[in-house]
């Protein structure tokens, strides 16, 4: 029972055919060619497959592709269309990642947090990325980088 769906992916309208049992993560990567969402645990625990769905972080491994018909999806590719964002620049400056597998999810979770709370505390940052697992860094440089973006924003105000 193939269904035609239309999504706005990174500001571009895309129409495609999906099966009811197609998982969004796989459709994004294989059909739509967006590779920043990673295949990790495939059960919502690791956060590697995170995207923004209508502006909120979600786990694409837990969503059927048919569910997002008519919705807006932003991946890391869309976020940095006009250059690296302040979050990305800060993560780069703090040398926050080693392998980088968790990076897209971390960036999107941090972006969502900073959108709601421009200068988060260390605890708020920890809470915001608690669903994004990193096996390389011990989290410290990631947390420092996100807190630093908030501090910079605070100074500007």
């Amino acid at each position: 029972m193939t269904k035609r769906i239309t999504v706005i992916l990174n500001n571009e309208t895309r129409s495609l055919d999906v099966e009811p049992n197609d998982i969004l993560l796989n459709v994004l990567r294989e059909t739509l060619g967006v590779k920043s969402p990673k295949i990790g645990c495939e059960r919502g625990d690791c956060g590697a497959c995170t995207v923004l769905l209508d502006g909120k972080t979600v786990r694409t491994c837990l969503i059927l592709a048919v569910e997002v018909d008519g919705h807006e999806i932003t991946t890391l590719e869309g976020l940095s269309q006009s250059g690296l964002t302040p979050v990305q620049q800060s993560l780069l400056k703090h040398n926050s990642f080693q392998c980088g597998f968790c990076a897209p999810g971390m960036v999107l979770s941090a972006t969502e947090l900073l959108g709601k709370n421009p200068s988060p505390s260390q605890d708020e940052v920890k809470e915001a990325i608690s669903g994004n697992l990193c096996r390389c860094t011990g989290y410290e440089p990631v947390i420092d980088a996100i807190v630093a973006v908030g501090k910079k924003a605070g100074k500007r105000v």
């Binding site: 029972m1 269904k3 099966e19 009811p20 049992n21 197609d22 998982i23 796989n26 294989e30 495939e42 059960r43 919502g44 625990d45 956060g47 995170t50 769905l53 909120k56 972080t57 979600v58 786990r59 491994c61 837990l62 969503i63 059927l64 048919v66 569910e67 999810g105 979770s109 969502e112 947090l113 920890k126 809470e127 915001a128 608690s130 669903g131 994004n132």
Partner: protein
């Protein structure tokens, strides 16, 4: 790549249409809201429905309503919606706190409270909290509407009283009229995303009556009725707390699993009950630990 199991996907535009669809497929239909639980179950072949009925197209189910002291939470209200709701934060601070401790932001943006009680896993956080407020589940089915008290809702792990063709459309509860304080105590392995190893919820009234519930320590979320009866009408004292803690083994039946042993759970529930009682009673007068702080 897709889920191996094949099914029909139906997205009704009205509740009536949804009920008809679910009734048509009978036990072979599964209702989809946030999907954070259902999709894993289908992916792992734990459930193999013929139809997945997505209720996200039904208007009105995404509302949090607070009218005349009665709170109604629609089936599409996510944990993030609850977390961001000023009325929840003000009137039901333990629910506000709980929603911040369920999974992680990316899950909370999708997972619903009603879905949480429909999944009916013994470690769910919504069940015990809603139990102390004597909440009821709003159900619509082929033969009309019914309201199921949450006490009667859970039958066992992943089992509820929901009948063939029925859909849970919301959950409703009344704000206690009497002066009260509450405490939600969730034991986790670390301060991050984790399921409860055990949870204790206490709702204490200024007239020295109490409502107590437990999660993760029985086949379903349960009320601590013996302890409530023991405490009823008595001011909290060190001796009384110890009497209550001694009743814990009569109330709960924890098991050993990957998250904790039954002995650890049994011991810790006693500690959690003591701290939860003290905090809830202190909060009646505005003292005690602030809502949102963990007492364990």
């Amino acid at each position: 790549m897709a889920i191996a199991h094949e099914f029909d996907y139906v997205k009704p535009g009205t509740l009536r249409e949804a009920v008809n669809t679910v009734a048509r497929y009978g036990t072979r239909a599964r209702v989809l809201a946030g999907g954070t639980d259902l999709i894993t179950l289908i992916a792992e072949n734990m459930v193999t429905p013929d139809a997945v009925v997505d209720i996200k197209g039904i208007a009105g189910l995404d509302k949090i309503e607070f009218k005349n002291g009665v709170l109604t939470i629609g089936a599409l209200v996510t944990f993030s919606d609850l977390r961001d709701s000023p009325v929840i934060a003000k009137k039901f601070p333990v629910i506000h706190q709980m929603t911040g401790w369920v999974a992680s932001v990316g899950i909370r943006n999708r997972a619903t409270m009603v879905g949480n009680i429909c999944s009916a896993v013994p470690c769910c956080d919504s069940g015990p909290i809603l139990l102390v407020y004597d909440a009821a589940v709003l159900v619509v089915g082929p033969s009309g509407k019914r309201k199921v008290p949450l006490r009667d809702w859970f039958l066992g792990p992943r089992k509820t009283v929901l009948k063939r063709g029925e859909i849970a459309t919301g959950v409703t509860l009344a704000l206690p009229r009497k002066k009260h304080g509450a405490c939600f105590v969730k034991l986790r392995r670390y301060e991050g995303e984790d399921l409860a190893q055990a949870s204790v919820t206490v709702l204490a009234y200024a007239d020295n009556t109490y409502r107590i519930s437990f999660g993760s320590v029985a086949p379903r979320p349960i009320r601590g009725e013996r302890i409530e009866a023991l405490l009823a009408g008595r001011a909290l004292s060190d001796d009384l707390i110890q009497e209550a803690v001694r009743l814990v083994p009569e109330e709960i039946a924890p098991i050993t699993d990957i998250r904790a042993t039954k002995e650890y759970r049994m011991h810790m529930v006693g500690v959690m009950l003591e701290r939860g009682l003290r905090a809830a009673v202190e909060r009646i007068t505005g003292s005690g630990p602030a809502y949102g702080t963990s007492v364990i």
